[in-house]
Point group: C2
Chain length 318, copies 2
Amino acid sequence: MCAKLASSKDPNRLPLHGLAVFESVARNGSMSSAAKALGLTQPAVSQALKKLEQQLEVNLVMRHRNGIELTKAGQELFMSCVQSFDQLLNTINAIRQPKSGQQEVTLSLSTATATYWLLPTIAEFYQQFPNILVNIISRDNDSNLKSGNYDLAIPLSAQPFSQQDFHIWPLLDEVVFPVCSPNLLEHHNLTTSNINIEGLQQLPLIHLENNPEARISWHAWVQASNQKPQLSLIEEEVPAHFMHGQTYSDYFVALSAAIAGQGVALGWQHIVKDLLQDQRLVRLGNQQWRSDHPFTLIAPRRKALTPAVMALRDWLLT
Amino acid sequence: MCAKLASSKDPNRLPLHGLAVFESVARNGSMSSAAKALGLTQPAVSQALKKLEQQLEVNLVMRHRNGIELTKAGQELFMSCVQSFDQLLNTINAIRQPKSGQQEVTLSLSTATATYWLLPTIAEFYQQFPNILVNIISRDNDSNLKSGNYDLAIPLSAQPFSQQDFHIWPLLDEVVFPVCSPNLLEHHNLTTSNINIEGLQQLPLIHLENNPEARISWHAWVQASNQKPQLSLIEEEVPAHFMHGQTYSDYFVALSAAIAGQGVALGWQHIVKDLLQDQRLVRLGNQQWRSDHPFTLIAPRRKALTPAVMALRDWLLT
DNA sequence: TCTTTATATAAGTTAAAGTTATATAAATAA
DNA sequence: TTATTTATATAACTTTAACTTATATAAAGA
């Protein structure tokens, strides 16, 4: 009954609920699957998304028969949501104090590795060790691995960590190949097999921001491919097409763009494995590049190797 | 009536509503003023905050007679909230298309300058130019000023921008002095006046992350102070105390820490002016340092100087 | 033509969030 | 001392945003 101030129409008030729903829709590629992921019904998601678009006065998704596609604005907003929510989740995990009696391990890895490689199987670990809590901290770069507060980490970069300061165990071979959404190929009337360097030049490419730590780049991939005789290109030059395209600073965001049909990304085998299986991505051609810098699991020597840490380490290494 | 899945107790579901309330409480320094800022009543805020603390199982604030104080966990969470919500707000502003008939200017400045210098007076501008919409984009560093999409900006760094690519107008002198919360002084039984370099060594210091762009650092401040004869220290050495303390990468977050009583920060006069007036901060000593790199307003020449842009420029420069 | 699989809309329900009223506790003023 | 002010907390009731069920629409495939 009381006169409301500028509370609900305040432009600086974030529509957080709507953003959370939108993030799930964008991540899952459809409203129905987002609803399942959120534990809601499909109409709830449809309504929340519609409301958000009305509040922002921007079209965020294009509705298709087989799901949704993000508009340009939707893509930008999705990137922001992923990064913002990730940061909040990380911080909450970091400040949450463990329940007494509960053992704890903190594992630091990239958002993409966490989402697509670890999370699908972590339930097994919890089943095997119900009294160990795994604290997952995701990050975009390795800058805080020198000082950060964690027990185990999977560094993104290939730069070696000193044996003096870290325990180091080899974890996974680095195997890379191009991937994209099945829809993208359809639009361009191409098929997955026999896509070589020339074929790739007909498709938009998705790049990772060119930081020195990055393992993966289209430039390096073309150069590596050229050393194989069966490819038709002259060795020395990388075509200009491989230098242009959308660039993201986070691999998870780049992969999300690929899933959304924005272009072709370079995929690490262990990360895209599940995405290939459920057809959210397809592999292009049969070329693959295996680097000589395997992914490693590291543990800072300044932290104790508690039984919980060792249990997770052994589970990861099997 | 339907059986609920793991919807509400999902640990990966962010309590966004609670976080928004908490952010406002932390920013405003008390629940009552947060309630006012949010357009809610005090019990609503009290309940929301209590619920959040129960959900996270962490104490975020200490309740005092004169407001609240953040715990260590609360500080960390506040930083994350500020950064995350800021990023979302920026993106939303960026993707929002202007209403037809409405003129628009995009202004890029630091979060602290936006919050404490611009926002308190921007209403005047809107009153004078009701048909111009000012799109405020806040940022922590100048890295995207070379390429970003904005009409006007106030660079953080003192590095000169090229006259070829930018219009440049001098805006504000850079005047710096130490500030802290009145409570901090009380706890240490000190008074505001006559705090010199020795006095500062009894108080915790708040630093800005040492990026090359930073204008402001305790190290530089001590060195500058030492050149003034009335200070008692021998010229050459900066005491070790000025090299240690909490370090933040964002000036807004550093200032928030100072307001929360965490320590002494270096304050730019134009930014802390209002905070001194309403006693959220007090100035220590009467030393001040005026640099010879005034803050400037810049406009990229690649963007047109529309009437709306010129109106905002002229209003800022008066 | 009949499923299947998307999203949209309408109408009723529920639970989270908010309000009012009151309590507690500390500091301040009379 | 006793009132006043200013802060947070709690109890009980109210509102409304969010959610559900039911149904519609539209396209693709069997």
